[in-house]
């Protein structure tokens, strides 16, 4: 029977291996200098690259992070420091609810809230991704702060440091590793998301042209290439983009897991 359990393990790891192998091999064969730095050609046309998609992803993720990280961290501080409050309990529950909202629904919200007003835009995409990010960062920040031992807080308070200052200096500093890993994982997560972008940034072949304009992004580009009828031309681009995206996402994940490893002894 243990054999069955191990068989399950192997069955689960086969797709993982296959995805990684295919992405790396097909992606590498599509890799080139021009792939990284040139504009996106129309579907079916040779040449060009996916430069704008890389740029777009970087800009949108950065903007989403600027919005999402502070809100997430301070919300997490509130939930950790004022745990007994009723508002905190309800907010915590709702945070969990938000974590489980399907990503396409976030896209719908981004569209209904922003695109309807200012059109397909970077801002709409960044807001949708920020909303995805906030509950994740809130939760991980809360957990990191809860882990800070009472003794550290008491030491600071006994020195005549007001409660709020203790939290913002000593407690946060003590929890910073946990908070940082939470943030990194959230960033990795939103970098790979397509659905929220599908309904907010529209996609584009060109370099970034303004926050209220549509733009390209890696996940969206991958999707568009995959739907192209011109397979021989566009699929290699899709794999190339996938390789870059997977590289970014997995690197962040691996760094985080390495940094938070527990030593077995």
């Amino acid at each position: 029977m243990t054999l069955l359990a191990y068989a399950a393990l192997i069955i689960a790891l086969i797709p993982l291996a296959s995805i990684l192998i295919e992405t790396i091999s097909r992606g590498l064969s599509a890799m080139s200098f021009s792939l990284l730095f040139e504009e996106i050609p129309p579907l079916g046309q040779l040449g060009g690259g996916i430069g704008p998609a890389i740029e777009g992803t970087l800009i949108i993720v950065a903007l989403a992070s600027i919005i999402g990280i502070p809100i997430g961290v301070f919300s997490g501080i509130y939930l950790a420091e004022f745990r007994q409050s009723h508002i905190a309990s309800v907010a915590r529950f709702l945070n969990d609810v938000l974590t489980n909202v399907p990503s396409i629904v976030l896209g719908i919200f981004g569209w209904a809230l922003i695109v309807v007003v200012i059109g397909w835009s970077v801002i709409a995409g960044a807001v949708a991704l920020a909303i995805m990010m906030i509950p994740i960062v809130t939760r991980t920040t809360e957990e990191a702060i809860k882990l800070v031992p009472m003794t550290i807080r008491e030491a600071a308070i006994a020195l005549g440091v007001p409660r709020w200052k203790t939290t913002l200096t000593v407690v946060l500093s003590s929890a910073k590793k946990g908070i940082a890993t939470g943030i990194l994982l959230a960033v990795a997560r939103i970098s790979g998301e397509t659905a929220p972008l599908l309904l907010t940034i529209l996609g584009s072949r060109f370099w970034f042209s303004g926050f209220t304009q549509p733009t390209a992004a890696l996940p969206l580009a991958i999707f568009n290439f995959s739907q192209s009828p011109f397979r021989t031309v566009d699929l290699p681009r899709a794999w190339g983009a996938s390789l870059i995206l997977i590289f970014i996402v997995l690197t962040i994940n691996i760094i985080v897991r390495y940094a938070t490893r527990e030593k077995y002894g």
Partner: protein, 332 residues
């Protein structure tokens, strides 16, 4: 240091018991509380906006939307109004999720049992790492791999054989398509494995060792021990399964890319179809008119939203109750 008198030091302004200042503490509390209340704002706005956008469709089609089976933004007869209905989508979501659970749960349980009961600790860490890596892969890359690797594989090596063996069942009849419901279910199964196995592993780990020791003392095999652990953690596992279901229900890109995107109340798993999520992903950017078209898609999104919330809330409730029970029993 001489402190026989109240010594003047550069801290002396602090050395008298001063009046209570306008408390930095309460200002701090208020500020972070307001920031934390963003969640109320976001969820509230979300519900409001989506309902608002769906309103036209809700008014036009009423409750019949839920069991309507036509999807015609541009009816062939120009005088007929557009008609939309969500039943095939609900059906598609239901079936693909069921397939995902049917295939994915046994594998997930196998993994979590292997990790919590059978495998040595160091192995545990490495394997968990890889399983979690599965979770980190973006959905669209699953989709790409699905189109170009999984579908050819299934189409050539699995589906024909499946039809040969199980073709007497209506689910496995008809033309075999690579982009089909079954493929959608399979890819969802792979995607829920990390979720279900991670939570199950935690549930099993919470089973007190006293239980394991008791059953081993009675001469049980490892498998029998595993069964005890599973039954002990049963409700937690149910919760894990439901969370997997929640994930499957909401999953968009990978499914969209392999399910074929046709609108039908399918009977065979080899047929292409759509899910609530996939139709929105597919048609939204093209749906500029008529206005009721977008509104209908919004309503589909609303149904999906509600479904996901219900499934996930129930899941969390079950998990919470199960881990609580384990702790209580442990005290005896």
């Amino acid at each position: 240091m001489n402190t026989h008198k109240k010594h003047p030091s550069f801290l002396s302004k602090l050395n008298t018991i001063s009046k209570k200042r306008l408390s930095g503490d309460s200002a701090f509390k208020t500020i972070v509380m307001l920031i934390a209340c963003n969640i109320f704002l976001i969820l509230g706005l979300m519900i409001f906006k989506i309902v608002q956008s769906s309103w036209l469709s809700i008014q036009t089609y009423g409750i019949n939307f839920l069991w309507g089976t036509t999807w015609q933004p541009f009816p062939p007869n120009p005088n007929a109004p557009p008609s939309f209905g969500a039943l095939p989508l609900i059906w598609g979501t239901l079936i693909t999720s069921s397939i995902a659970l049917f295939l994915g749960v046994p594998i997930s349980l196998g993994i979590s049992l292997a990790l919590s009961e059978f495998a040595p600790k160091s192995f545990n860490y490495v394997i968990s790492f890889f399983v979690e890596l599965l979770a980190a892969i973006p959905s669209v890359i699953y989709g790409l791999w699905g189109i170009l690797v999984l579908i050819p594989f299934l189409q050539n090596n699995v589906y024909p054989q499946l039809q040969t063996v199980l073709g007497f069942l209506p689910f496995f009849q008809g033309t075999i398509r690579g982009s089909s419901v079954l493929t959608g279910g399979i890819i969802l199964a792979i995607m829920i494995i990390p979720t279900v196995s991670a939570i199950s592993r935690d549930v099993f780990a919470a089973v007190p060792n006293s239980q394991r020791e008791a059953i081993i003392a009675l001469g049980a095999t490892r498998w029998e021990k595993a069964r005890i652990v599973m039954s002990y953690g049963r409700s937690g596992v149910i919760g894990a399964i439901m969370l997997g279901l929640g994930r499957a229900v909401g999953e968009t890109m990978a499914v969209t890319m392999v399910i074929g995107n046709s609108f039908n109340m399918f009977t065979s798993l080899f047929e292409p179809s759509s899910t609530l999520a996939s139709i929105v992903a597919n048609e939204f950017t093209e749906a500029s008119s008529p206005p009721v078209y977008i509104s209908a898609l919004m309503e589909v999104g609303l149904i999906l939203f509600a479904l996901a919330i219900v499934v996930n809330a129930s899941a969390r409730l079950i998990i919470w109750r199960s881990t609580r029970n384990v702790k209580e029993v442990e005290m005896f």
